[in-house]
């Protein structure tokens, strides 16, 4: 199991009472997380050095191939694919494909790229104006379009540069091939290459293009928008412009004061409780269902799985109305009726505090309802792990006289932590960005009513971002982008930990 080869962790060393061991185990875990973060930071300078060296080698290779190449290879530096298609019809396919990349790139640059890149510093100068006689519109600039296409142009430029370097390599290799007197490969061999040694290119191109479009491109554009004054007023009709760090200043003080720190604090508290309540209670649930003498295991499990299976937008929206409230105690939401009619408690509670402004109540409610929704998930995955724990471990511990608590501390819990540990941090990151629970249950409320765009008491960073950008005609895209970057940094902080600790990435080859 975990790295117990050289050093025994402190929490196993001494004959301590179980609660001390439990606390020490958690401390140990936090310490390990700290070490992981430090290792990440330590690695950054080396990564940069490697990157610089790689670029150096790239230029070295370019010069080397130019120096040793014949005239065909040297021509390829100007006309891509020349080193291939000038060597006979067998190489036409490779050669002209490369030429096509160059031609398409030049066409793109001439008609779209150059225009947008030249507009990037100003983000457009021609505002929207009525056409001749007040009918229609004249040609105008669109700041967002310029921004998006500029980023796209940069991506294409990087791709082209890569293809260009690759082209010189191919040309040089073909030249060496010819000089060695070997036969040049024809289209058949090239297709065979695409299905065999080069199969990774064939199979990965489409997925990577997709990821670039929906993940990387919007991410870069989003970061850039944070440095503009793009909002509902400066939208497609009006032009927006670069404003430097003004939007950051506005989110972290000028417009919203200290509110963002309040939202961040609640986001982290929420993520902590949402993660750990689900984890511990879900684990507990899995353990009691998994107990040997308990019958109807499949039935119990299935009952809880049904709750997971109902889509969030149904179950959570329904829950928000299940706890509905109206001031008249005889005519109110279902849960209030239940406590009145079945349990005889004469109370009529505004559970989400939206009408009577009870922020703490609303916060506790979303955490509790999140348990209703999330515990079955942990139960299901823990259940799978529990079934994998070797029975011999329990047998031998029983012979040694270990009680159920001792067995949990020494066998079950470490085993679950070992498998679920990295997942726990992923879940934590997921909860920082848990849009559904907050949006469907409270919509971010209760609100103090300062201004339409101020965060509510249960607003997470992401739900606040949503209201700033989607919901109303007073959208503040630039502030949304700033909050996006802020969330991005917070998430990446935790993501890096998972990244470094996921051992299955490092040891994958040992399974094959």
């Amino acid at each position: 199991m975990a790295s117990t080869k050289n050093t025994v962790p402190t929490w196993k060393q001494y004959n301590r009472p179980w609660y001390q061991k439990f606390g020490l185990a958690i401390l140990e875990y936090i310490k390990n997380v700290g070490i992981m973060i430090w290792c990440c930071i330590k690695a950054i300078p080396f990564k940069i050095r490697d990157f610089v060296f790689a670029i150096g080698r790239c230029f070295q290779g370019l010069w080397f191939r130019f120096k040793n190449g014949d005239w065909r290879t040297r021509m390829s530096y100007l006309i891509m694919g020349f080193g291939n298609f000038s060597r006979g019809p067998k190489q036409f396919l490779t050669g002209f494909l490369q030429l096509a990349v160059e031609v398409l790139f030049i066409l793109f640059m001439v008609f779209i790229g150059a225009h947008n890149l030249s507009m990037l510093p100003s983000l457009g100068i021609t505002p929207i104006l009525p056409g001749p006689g007040g009918i229609g519109m004249v040609e105008h600039d669109n700041s967002l379009k310029i921004l998006i296409f500029s980023v796209l142009t940069f991506i294409f430029m990087i791709f082209f540069l890569y293809m260009w370097i690759k082209n010189t390599q191919i040309a040089y290799n073909t030249q060496k091939h010819v000089e060695a007197g070997k036969a040049i490969s024809g289209p058949k061999q090239q297709i065979n290459f695409a299905l065999n040694d080069g199969y990774h290119v064939t199979i990965l191109t489409l997925p990577i293009v997709g990821i670039l479009i929906v993940t990387v491109l919007p991410l870069i554009c989003n970061i850039l928008v944070a440095f503009t004054n793009f909002d509902a007023f400066n939208d497609e009709v009006h032009l927006f412009k670069w404003v430097g760090f003004d939007s950051f200043a506005s989110v972290f003080g000028k417009t919203y004061g200290t509110e963002i720190w309040g939202v961040l604090g609640w986001t982290l508290i929420w993520a902590f409780f949402a993660t750990f309540t689900n984890f511990f209670f879900g684990m507990f649930l899995a353990m009691i269902i998994n107990k040997k003498s308990i019958k109807l295991k499949a039935f119990w499990r299935t009952c809880f799985v049904i709750v997971i299976a109902v889509p969030d937008f149904v179950s959570l929206l329904m829950m928000s109305q299940f706890f509905a409230w109206k001031s008249d105690p005889a005519q109110t939401g279902a849960f209030n009726l239940i406590i009145q009619q079945w349990f005889g408690i004469n109370q009529n509670v505004d559970w989400f505090g939206s009408a009577t402004y009870k922020p703490t109540m609303a916060r506790i409610m979303v955490i509790v309802i999140n348990m209703w929704r999330g515990m079955p998930f942990t139960m299901l995955s823990t259940y799978g792990i529990l079934m994998n724990i070797p029975e011999e471990l329990y047998e031998s511990s029983r012979i040694d006289g270990a009680g159920p608590v001792r067995r949990f501390i020494s066998i079950t819990f470490p085993y679950i932590m070992f498998v679920m540990g990295p997942q726990l941090i992923t879940t934590f990151t997921g909860n920082i960005n848990n849009f559904n629970v907050i949006f469907f249950l409270t919509g971010g409320g209760p609100f103090m009513g300062k201004s339409a765009n101020s965060p509510g008491s249960t607003d997470l960073l992401v739900t606040w971002l949503y209201r700033l950008t989607v919901n109303n005609s007073s959208a503040e895209y630039n502030h949304g982008a700033v909050i996006g970057i802020f969330t991005f940094i917070i998430s990446s902080f935790f993501a890096l930990i998972v990244f470094n600790s996921s051992k299955s990435v490092k040891q994958e080859d040992s399974f094959q």
Partner: protein, 296 residues
């Protein structure tokens, strides 16, 4: 002195009671929702917990009725089915391709790609969802007299859901890693290309994990709200999530009063297929979520 047997009996009975109480708490709201779907009183605010008068009107109104033009639930259901099926097919293919490449092929950029995918995958996609919306809005083309954009368009929605799916290769790759390499090598000796090995050997050998991938890829868009909400503004093209969410939009109490039980009916209908799928695939689901991690 209590004997070992009776001690166990007591513990077990306590566990049974705890489990029974929990099951009631967990399932009660859902049962309540299903019962309210048959309620003649349409409001969320009532005097009785369960319906006093039962009716099928809520279900009938979903598929026809006075305000069907305003709230065409039937159309939403068809849209949801199209979007979920389309993006399920595309994203399953993409995930399988990426998983195979990263599991079986050895090339220089492999580790780098895996690291980048891991980082990208951990960031929530919808932080930049608005930007994505504007990017898709730029793509427009004209067929005949109508101009199509990729936003407010079912096909565009399918693309948004599916083409970035490659980052979610993790679990399938974990499964491919467990398929012995000896099989590949034997096929290579017999002259099969890597392409052929992928389609004819690895995929047939990985049925459980492929079923898991297909089901999760289908359930994702079926249950998703936010992407559809941002990308679609025409009520005819809504998915069910966007459509029935507006019935409960807290800003307008009159709508909730009229529509709450219809929401229950619509919600029940959209949940039933997914619940059935989950129950059928429980085995695959557990294998899937623990499979990726258990090798750690």
């Amino acid at each position: 002195m209590i004997g070992l047997r009776s001690k166990r009996l007591i513990t077990d009975s306590i566990i049974y009671i705890v489990l029974a109480v929990m099951v009631v708490i967990w399932l009660f709201p859902l049962v309540w929702m299903v019962l309210r779907a048959f309620d003649a009183n349409t409001s969320n605010i009532t005097t009785s917990i369960f319906p006093k008068e039962f009716t099928m009107d809520n279900f009938k109104n979903l598929f026809g009725g006075a305000d069907y033009d305003q709230y065409p639930y039937g159309k939403w259901l068809v849209n949801t089915l199209i979007v979920a099926t389309g993006s399920c097919i595309i994203s399953t293919l993409l995930v399988l391709m990426v998983s195979y490449a990263l599991s079986r092929l050895r090339f220089k950029a492999r580790k780098t790609l895996m690291n980048i995918a891991l980082i990208l995958g951990l960031f929530p996609g919808f932080l930049s969802i608005i930007t994505l919306y504007y990017i898709f809005k730029q793509v427009s083309f004209t067929i005949g007299d109508t101009e199509y954009t990729l936003t407010n368009n079912t096909f565009g929605l399918i693309l948004v859901y599916s083409i970035g799916a490659g980052t979610g290769y993790y679990i399938v790759k974990g499964f491919f890693d467990t398929v012995p390499v000896a099989i590949d090598e034997a096929a290579r000796i017999d002259g099969a290309t890597k392409n052929r090995i992928f389609w004819r050997m690895i995929i047939p050998l990985s049925k459980p994990i492929i079923i898991y991938t297909i089901l999760t890829a289908f359930i994702g868009p079926w249950c998703d709200f936010i992407l559809a909400k941002v990308f679609i503004s025409d009520p005819e093209k809504f998915t069910v999530a966007v459509g029935i969410q507006q019935w409960l939009d807290a800003g307008d109490n009159n709508t909730i009063d009229r529509m709450f039980t219809r929401f229950c009916a619509g919600g029940t209908l959209i949940a039933v297929p997914i619940v059935l799928l989950y129950l059928l695939m429980q085995k695959f689901y557990v294998a899937g979520i623990t499979g990726g991690a258990a090798k750690g």
